[in-house]
Symmetry: C2
Subunit: 369 residues, 2 copies
DNA sequence: ATTATATTTGTGTGCCCACACAAATATATA
DNA sequence: TATATATTTGTGTGGGCACACAAATATAAT
């Protein structure tokens, strides 16, 4: 027994069937729409028999609420805060998640979703603390958080939990049980991918360098995991070629410093044919290689402008991109689904690790990855 | 002079501002909502001066229609047909675009979007013709078309144009001026990517084989472009290593036939260390290599189940994936934007060419790529 | 000026749902 | 039995927009 209804706006077309509404349910169960509403939201009290009739009708007519009408009627607005670093001239990465967040908000603004963007300085803890306070003062319902500063983030999260504000981590995470979702890369796999690529493109006895460039203040636990994954690859895939892997930690990002240190290092290690840069600053090494006409391969992270240029001019061989824009839209979408559709997200939402080369980079730039 | 309005549902929060409505416009321009409506849709006639007042108010108050309320009031339903091959046991590729289309429809069903799926047999032209007739009989407003059969597709398109039904191409295209959009890969770049990868991972004097496997009936103009891109790479990047590239065309996909032909070919060409399979059947060659313990690299296309297995067991080194699921959702979204928001899409929407290896494949499987 | 016709404008209804409130019914208390 | 209280149910309104129709005004023809 079927309960089909054909739309008569379009000339009798089998494949267009109107969605059933609460009105339909009410008629079918011989109650008022108010009662149907009460059953749907288990609000108020309904006689057991009527409740059953309604539930049967819902099943039979395959009722699904119209999210449009629902949000239109549900007047409450939804405010999401985003607490992320601001993009700087020498590190434009965070412009990408930001773009994603803004795209997501744009998409859902008709649904009453609003954004309060709070950016902080990647190298200034106090700016984070200040921004966090602004978020706490804003009485928003959800927070998108990039927990760059571990200790301060944990303090912040505690206050969020007191106020029962839910939060998602974006791009990086800290061990913590109560976040709604983590949206970002699987760091260890990032290292594995780089390892596999280098192992494929290098010859037998060529050596590798892991290059960590960072400022003192930065939380570098992530970088550690990436390097761990990278080294793991070669441990588990030893095979005939037993590669030597060196590590160089630099506390500077200045062109001159890096160039100098690399020059010295290469001199004492002439067999190095590949450099794995564990953050988005591969272009610094790339520029040096290009200037010195060194035939050393580079693999790095992230489609920031200077890296893009280096891929296009051949100085960087592979970039691993972790869908920064997509991370942003996903974070917003996660909250939307959580609050509007009451669907709880997966705890960990790992983004694909895109392998970008000169030949496919344009498509990544154009799409909102 | 600003015209802000703060929502008072949420305790006075600066960042939540109600969207302006046609009511606001009407008040501001001192006309009725009917007149505003007329201006917005240039329906009916409006006195020039009032029209101007309304247009000014729209600009000043930064009015954007609420798509929710709009579609809720706009009762017309939208029917989209999808004319794509059905997935078969030995070629599951088309289950992925189909999944994407269904996801897209699911997402927009509240907006009155309906789908009429018409699948045809990849190896049976007559099934395509029949499905195309069904589409023409369905009086839909848009068609998602996979133009596998060139001649028949052109015939079909002619009839669509007579009936003024717009259509998009998905996954592959044919030269034609009137399609609304093409959503799919840039074929030549697919070849370039494969070329670059092989050039990186192979040694100096190792040779390459381009393996085309197809049934007679298939439209193979695409495969030609891919191979062209592949060979182009080596022409434009000759460098020191001048590679020899062979081509083997097989009119069969049977395990036995392929194995036999490959065996013979490798015997007469012992220097071949890489095979580029120009469609989704790389797993056939992979199984053969694995059985014979041959150390020959394989690059192929598409995340179909058997290819996935081969990547995981190491028999396929690289897969190039062209976001089949995303293609489907994008096609639906394109029509949605076209009909609901009246936004015309870009004529060509190229999807990224994802490079998939053992180390990152899981993330591609989990995401809806 | 008077009627007929064309143009312009305003009002009302429905789309589907959420929620407040009133009405109706049932149960408890005096 | 009458009154107070609790439980259950129905109706109405609003959210922003599209569209039909009626009302108002302007223009033409007599």
């Amino acid at each position: 027994m079927w309960a089909h209804k054909y739309n008569n706006n379009v000339r009798s077309n089998m494949s267009i069937q109107k969605k059933t509404t609460i009105q339909d349910i009410a008629r079918h169960a011989n109650v008022s729409v108010g009662t149907v509403d009460r059953v749907l939201h288990n609000r108020g009290s309904v006689m057991p028999e009527k409740k059953q009739r309604v539930e049967e009708a819902i099943k039979k007519l395959n009722y699904n609420p119209n999210a449009l009408a629902s949000t239109l009627a549900f007047k409450k607005q939804l405010l999401i805060s985003a607490l992320i670093p601001e993009a700087t001239s020498f590190d434009g990465y965070w412009s990408l998640p930001k773009k994603g967040i803004e795209l997501g908000v744009e998409k859902f603004k008709d649904f009453g979703l609003n954004l309060a963007l709070q950016e902080f300085n990647l190298y200034d803890v106090s700016s984070f603390v200040k921004a966090a306070e602004a978020v706490l003062a804003s009485n928003c319902q959800g927070v998108i958080l990039a927990p760059i500063f571990k200790k301060e983030s944990i303090d912040f999260i505690e206050k969020l939990e007191e106020k029962e504000i839910s939060y998602v981590f974006i791009d990086l995470t800290i061990r913590n049980q109560n976040f709604l979702s983590y949206i970002g890369p699987h760091l260890k796999s990032s290292g594995l991918v780089a390892g596999k690529l280098f192992d494929s493109i290098l010859n037998q006895n060529e050596e590798l360098l892991v290059l960590n460039m960072r400022k003192e203040v930065e939380n570098h636990s992530n970088v550690g995991i990436i390097e761990e994954g990278f080294r793991n690859y070669f441990e588990f895939n030893k095979g005939p070629k037993n590669r030597t892997i060196h590590t160089l930690n630099l506390n500077s990002m200045s062109k001159e410093r890096v160039s100098g240190e690399l020059k010295a290092f290469y001199k004492s290690h002439p067999n190095i044919k590949g450099v794995f840069v564990t953050n988005s600053r591969a272009h610094i090494a790339a520029d040096f290689h290009r200037k010195m006409k060194l035939d050393i391969k580079i693999i790095g992270f992230d489609l920031v402008n200077k890296n893009i240029d280096s891929v296009k001019n051949g100085a960087i061989d592979f970039l691993i991109s972790q869908r920064p824009v997509f991370q942003g839209t996903t974070a917003v979408e996660t909250f939307f689904n959580h609050f509007i559709y009451k669907k709880n997200p997966e705890k960990v939402q790992n983004v694909p690790l895109d392998i970008v080369i000169k030949e496919n980079i344009d498509f990544y730039l154009h799409a909102n990855n």
